[in-house]
């Protein structure tokens, strides 16, 4: 055993500044008050909305909405799978990344639709398909041959 040495003093306790503690306490009280009082920060409407949203979802509808992005694409996936692999697929919607389809079919050529690209494909007489929203409805998708899809 090495020779004994005096034990160092115990750890000094943290001493938060009183003004900090007071500010935190007042901030917390104000936040709770904001949550309880009516207004844009009120918590109870949020709770009510949440309870309504959760209660409105039975398991089946919840799953349908939840799986939304994938579930909406499932019929499209099936249709895309039936397409010849060498036909490019153009996805024609700004808010839906072609990534969704590219992720499912890594070997397939999936592009964001653009007039330039379509003109290029048309010029080469290359058959292609366009994935688009049916009547702009984000819940419904449709897959059209390139010559039928409007620009």
């Amino acid at each position: 055993m090495p020779p004994d040495v005096p034990l160092p003093p115990p750890p000094a306790p943290p001493r938060p500044c009183r003004a900090l503690t007071a500010a935190l306490a007042l901030g917390l009280a104000a936040s709770i008050a904001l949550a309880l009082l009516p207004g844009p920060t009120a918590l109870f409407p949020a709770l009510t909305d949440l309870a309504r949203d959760v209660a409105a979802h039975d398991s089946e509808s919840l799953r349908r909405e939840h799986d939304g992005w994938y579930a909406r694409l499932l019929p499209v996936y099936e249709a895309v799978a039936a397409l010849p692999e060498d036909e490019p697929l153009l996805v024609a919607h700004d808010q839906v990344p072609p990534f969704f389809v590219a992720a499912r079919f890594p070997a397939r050529r999936v592009f964001a639709a653009s007039d330039a690209l379509r003109a290029e494909l048309d010029a080469h007489h290359q058959p292609y398909h366009v994935l688009t929203l049916a009547n702009g409805d984000p819940l419904r998708w449709t897959l059209l041959p390139g010559d039928e899809a409007g620009r």
Partner: protein, 526 residues
């Protein structure tokens, strides 16, 4: 898979992360001094980081189409096997430490009682512990409503937010379906072709890897069933934040600070993208920012290498979460090194680290003398986030065709002052928006400013803490600069302010809260 049935595999995965962290990083001797509330979440995140890194390696080495699930289960099995052994080992070590300090406990208790450590505050042996504990218990109860609200939102509502689904879950699903990062299956082409990608192709893959791991244990791409995992991840981050706040300023201040954060309106508003009730990555990223700062602040006091390691592991996790994490690492590593060099080169006056090490570890004479020295070798931990960041950037360079913000030209730099006023006004207006931030903005800004002013003395320990505060300030400036460059290069400042700005602020809230508390707390010298 139903939500109820999903809990078991999800719990197994997250327990495996804990086991992996406890069995590897948690085995470091310095972590034995950590209280369980600090050690467990820190080990959990270390384990998650190790799994994420392992998955990156697997993605690079496995052939295309090779199933990922067996390897994820292998990692999970290893973590679960290690977990009980690691818990037993840690318990035994701490029990041994308790035996070692039996001869000192009377003295420690006596001193603590006088100085009010651990909630004991009294004079002449009369404890004032009970009222304090009751007050703290009341504060803890106040945390429950917002936590419950966040939990219900996170688990009970559909994950239909755009970034969560389009950026993170889709990439996780893609990796789950057999895409690889080596380009052998055309995945590099998918990454590299900007026409096939949405924005942000250069975002790192920590969050998709979390999704991949959860899909793998669930056996299917199921966002809904995976959501309990994101709740566990969030709760671990909040526990770590609380533990670091408590370490910095004591239990009462930590509970008050966490309460202030959780009762902020944005925290309970799942309708706002980026709030913790969604599976966006911004708030978890902010928690990693806070963890890296908190452990470095702790390391300044304890001079313990494990604290530096934990800080750098958090920084590495942040680097793999989002591009903002890369900026954080680039600021934290040099400024953290400066802080440690400054802080450790001073003669100790409070004796906190020495005592902690001496009473926690056996062989008090060895530890008392060892703790007096600064563990300079611990600075090697600074290489961890650098290595992770370099590896990721090298990998990303193979398949990311462009970065979001291009290096500014001199003409663009000249234009920055034109945009700065609108930028500053927008930032200020956003921060003071009651609907989102309640009273959090003014409280944090004031506390951070006062705390920084208190540290403006030519005192190495204060300057060391101030250097860490500069990391946050630098990150804020980098974000402001980035948005201004986006306005110059792509336009649409209003769009950025409307859709991304709140999330950028949310990333900085946890480290700002920690700094506001730590910079206004002192440890009385003995």
């Amino acid at each position: 898979m139903s939500l109820a049935a999903a809990w078991l595999p999800i719990l197994a995965l997250h327990a495996a992360w804990l086991g992996t962290g406890l069995g590897s990083f948690g085995a470091l001797r310095g972590t034995r001094a950590w209280p369980p509330l600090l050690a467990l979440p820190a080990a959990y995140f270390a384990g998650a980081l190790l799994h994420v890194l392992a998955l990156h390696v697997l993605m690079l080495t496995l052939g295309p189409g090779f199933p990922t699930q067996p390897f994820v289960w292998l990692l999970v099995s290893a973590g679960l096997l290690v977990l009980p052994f690691a818990v037993w080992r840690r318990s035994r070590a701490r029990a041994q430490d308790r035996v070692d300090r039996v001869d000192r406990v009377d003295r420690v208790d006596r001193v603590d009682r006088v100085n009010g450590v651990n909630g004991v505050d009294g004079v002449d042996g009369v404890p004032a512990e009970l009222p304090r504990r009751r007050f703290d218990a009341l504060l803890a109860l106040l945390l429950l409503p917002p936590l419950a609200l966040i939990a219900v939102q996170l688990v009970g509502l559909p994950d239909v937010s755009y970034d969560s689904v389009a950026f993170w879950n889709a990439k996780g699903a893609w990796l789950f379906h057999g895409a690889r990062l080596d380009g052998s299956d055309g995945s590099a082409e998918v990454f590299a072709d900007p026409r096939r990608l949405h924005a942000n192709p250069d975002y790192p893959l920590y969050r998709p890897m979390l999704a991949l791991a959860q899909y793998s244990v669930l056996g299917a791409v199921d966002d809904h069933a995976a959501k309990p995992g994101f709740l566990l991840h969030l709760l671990a981050g909040l526990a770590l934040l609380y533990a670091l706040l408590r370490d910095a300023a004591g239990r009462t201040a930590a509970l008050l600070a966490l309460g202030l954060l959780l009762w902020t309106p944005i925290m309970a508003a799942a309708s706002i993208p980026g709030s913790p009730g969604t599976t966006y990555v911004d708030f978890p990223l902010g928690l990693q920012f806070a963890a890296s700062l908190g452990f470095l602040l702790r390391a300044l006091r304890t001079r313990c290498g494990a604290d530096v390691g934990a800080a750098m592991a958090a920084a590495a996790s942040a680097a793999l979460m989002k591009n903002e994490g890369s900026i954080w690492c680039a600021l934290l590593v040099p400024l953290g090194a400066c802080a440690l060099l400054l802080g450790w080169s001073t003669r100790r006056t409070d004796g906190g680290a020495e005592h902690a090490a001496a009473v926690t570890h056996g062989h008090r004479t060895q530890h008392a003398s060892r703790a007096l020295r600064a563990p300079w070798l611990a600075l090697l931990w600074l290489a961890l986030p650098v290595a992770v960041l370099a590896a990721w950037k090298t990998l990303a360079a193979r398949f990311v065709p462009q970065i979001y913000i291009r290096p500014p030209t001199p003409a663009q730099i000249v234009r920055l002052p034109e945009i700065a006023p609108a930028m500053a006004a927008g930032w200020w207006h956003s921060l003071l928006e009651l609907r989102l931030w309640g009273v959090l903005g003014p409280v944090l800004l004031t506390a951070c400013a006062i705390g920084a002013l208190r540290h403006l003395r030519m005192d190495r320990e204060r300057l060391a803490r101030l250097a860490l505060a500069l990391v946050l300030l630098g990150q804020l400036w980098a974000v402001l600069l980035g948005v201004m460059l986006l306005e110059i290069q792509k336009g649409g400042l209003d769009n950025w302010m409307a859709h991304a700005w709140d999330r950028l602020i949310l990333q900085l809230v946890p480290p700002a809260l920690l700094l506001a508390v730590a910079l206004n707390t002192r440890r009385a010298a003995r």
